[in-house]
């Protein structure tokens, strides 16, 4: 019936195009390094070769990336650059094609709430809050938390820290702080998880538990991570390995 007159024909075609399912390729956050060189380590770095410093590097979204770095090569510095809490470098870090300094403070906060999460080497726990409150603070920083409060209990149980949740941050051991910091990093949505020696204070068993939780959470979000550490390890199935 529709094909009997020209008008109806065209009408049918346009109608069909409009109802075609829209194929959206998820646009995950791009991180690119362009000849990044830290100013304080400049002379030292230019004398030796590195996979990261002073090169063009693109981190593929969703990849598990390991950056192996001996002491003194700027491992923590790199993590701070990537998370944009330091910017004493030459070259550029492009986030979705734009350099970090071009983002406003409120934009950066938005990215840190939804797209990038972090585990610092020095852990950075609020001592005036309990372990649980430290995690909760991060969870409810967004008006609509991405996970439930029960999820915290669940993750704490997996990392064997349920018994310290009510303790003040001041009284936690380094190992406990490290696991709390890992859980804190996992209660938000992210596309990239940046970790600086995340297992340095953990025994082998706890490190393995933490690694499997991290891998699970990353896969659930289709997110990638950038992990820096001193030595080689097999805790994850890394997609890319760099030497700093």
């Amino acid at each position: 019936m529709v094909f009997q007159n020209g008008h109806g024909f065209f009408f049918a075609i346009t109608n069909q195009t409009a109802t075609l399912p829209c194929i959206r390729i998820p646009t995950y956050m791009q991180i690119q390094l362009e000849n990044l060189v830290p100013v304080p380590l400049k002379d030292k770095i230019l004398q030796r070769s590195s996979d990261i410093w002073n090169r063009q590097v693109t981190f593929t979204p969703g990849h598990f990336i390991k950056i192996k770095a001996p002491s003194g090569t700027g491992k923590t510095t790199l993590v701070h650059y990537l998370y944009h809490i330091r910017n004493d470098y030459t070259g550029a870090i492009l986030v979705n094609g734009k350099p970090w300094p071009s983002y406003s403070k409120n934009n950066i906060a938005d990215i840190r709430q939804k797209q990038v999460s972090v585990v610092f080497q020095d852990l950075r726990i609020f001592e005036q809050l309990s372990a649980q409150e430290n995690i909760e603070l991060k969870r409810i920083m967004m008006p609509q938390p991405s996970c439930t409060a029960e999820k915290i209990q669940e993750m704490a149980a997996r990392l064997n820290v349920t018994h310290v949740l009510a303790q003040s941050g001041r009284t936690l051991s380094y190992g406990e702080r490290q696991r709390i910091a890992i859980i804190r990093a996992l209660v938000q949505p992210f596309e990239w998880l940046i970790m600086d020696e995340p297992f340095s204070h953990l025994d082998e068993d706890n490190a393995q538990r933490a690694a499997s939780l991290i891998a699970e959470e990353c896969k659930a979000r289709k997110a990638g991570f950038i992990l820096t550490d001193l030595d080689h390890d097999n805790r994850f199935e890394y997609d890319t390995l760099y030497n700093l």
Partner: protein, 398 residues
């Protein structure tokens, strides 16, 4: 589970500058009180001067003439207004309406009817009808009418009743009786005379003169006058505020006089305005200091929690969220202060209204809209300044 702001409360302690905060709050409260009182007193005084309930009937109209000095005596020309002087009065900002007082250029005699044996020479004047405070249907005259409506000054009847009649053993006369008495009015120039039946139609508080309708004056001056136009020696103006210091100064400078009683508020107003301005000025200065102390308090709180705020920002807290949290600690304070100041002023105003009412001065027992607006404005100002400070100091460390 605590909320995000409750967690922030554990991290960012605002208690460190308590002394400063109490000082700032106290300063803000007193500043607000002074400002509101200044505005309220100003409004009340305006209400006393111009309010309908307190209105003095003649307050808005001034009859102006030149001061008669010894040098001028015998030279009538010197008490007349020239065209330039008239134009000058008309263009003054306080002159809302302007009218001439026209006098008669003929002889007038009045005689009481019957055997009262009352006979007097007199005069007439006329002013535009808009300036007359007696509204009366009989107040009209057209050529050919024998009945002539006349308005007497109230003072004239009082002078007779309480001055003349009592001392001379004559009967006192009521307004109604005067109105009922027809008078024989004779106007003349040389041999030319004409008689009218004059009837008093009202008593004026505003203009101290014997008034006849303008139409009669024009007709009579043409028929019985010298034919020369004479300059007026008295003019009448309508003004919004007879206590306006500008008006008083103008009259003084030009050597004009008017009913001084009507200008008596001028000095009082000047004094009240000065006191109110001084109170308002102190209020403003205090407000400035309060803002300064508030700003120092905010700076102290943010500086003392610098590390905590930096970590919060590192973890992804937006500066916007921190600003909102800090402002939420302060805003209820301003609102409470604003309401308290308004309540105190409202109480004072109510008491003042009660007290003034005993003296027949009516002011509203409620605070004026202007005062409430001022309170809102001050709260808004403090809010804006503090928000600016919070944003500045947060941005400086994040």
């Amino acid at each position: 589970m605590p909320s995000f702001f409750q967690l922030l409360k554990k991290i960012i302690r605002t208690g460190v500058g308590r002394a400063r905060m109490i000082m700032a709050t106290l300063g803000l409260g007193i500043a607000m009180l002074l400002l509101l009182i200044a505005i309220q007193v100003h409004t009340d005084f305006d209400q006393l001067l111009h309010g309908r309930q307190n209105e003095n009937e003649s307050a808005d109209f001034l009859v102006i003439n030149k001061k008669i000095t010894n040098e001028m005596m015998g030279q009538t020309g010197k008490s007349e207004f020239t065209d330039q002087e008239i134009a000058d009065i008309q263009k003054q900002p306080f002159t809302q309406a302007f009218g001439f007082i026209t006098s008669n250029q003929y002889k007038v005699t009045a005689a009481a009817p019957g055997d009262l044996h009352f006979y007097t020479d007199m005069f007439f004047e006329s002013v535009p009808d808009a300036f007359i405070d007696v509204k009366n249907d009989e107040w009209k005259w057209s050529p050919g009418d024998n009945a002539l409506p006349i308005i007497l000054p109230n003072d004239f009847l009082n002078l007779y009743n309480f001055g003349f009649a009592l001392s001379q053993d004559l009967p006192q006369i009521s307004q109604e009786t005067v109105k009922a008495l027809p008078m024989k009015i004779t106007i003349s120039r040389g041999m030319l005379t004409q008689e009218f039946t004059g009837r008093i139609v009202g008593f004026s508080d505003r203009i101290s003169s014997f008034l006849v309708p303008g139409t009669f004056m024009q007709w009579a001056n043409e028929k019985f006058g010298s034919g020369q136009k004479t300059a007026p020696s008295r003019v009448i103006i309508k003004t919004k505020d007879p206590s306006n210091p500008v008006l008083v100064k103008y009259l003084d400078d030009k050597g004009y006089t008017t009913n001084q009683d009507k200008l008596k508020y001028s000095k009082t107003k000047l004094i009240v305005q000065t006191i109110v301005s001084v109170i308002g000025f102190f209020g403003l200065v205090l407000l400035l200091f309060a803002l300064l102390v508030f700003s120092m308090f905010i700076q102290l709180v943010i500086a003392s929690c610098k590390r905590e705020i930096q970590l919060l920002v590192t973890l992804g807290t937006a500066p916007r969220q921190l600003q909102r949290y800090l402002m939420r600690q302060f805003v209820p304070l301003y609102i409470v202060i604003g309401i308290l100041a308004l309540l105190v002023v409202a109480g004072l105003q109510w008491m003042a209204a009660q007290e003034l009412e005993k003296h027949d001065m009516i002011v509203s027992p409620l605070v004026s809209a202007g005062t409430i607006c001022a309170a809102l404005l001050v709260i808004l100002l403090v809010y804006i300044v503090n928000r600016f400070n919070v944003r500045k100091y947060i941005n400086a460390i994040s």
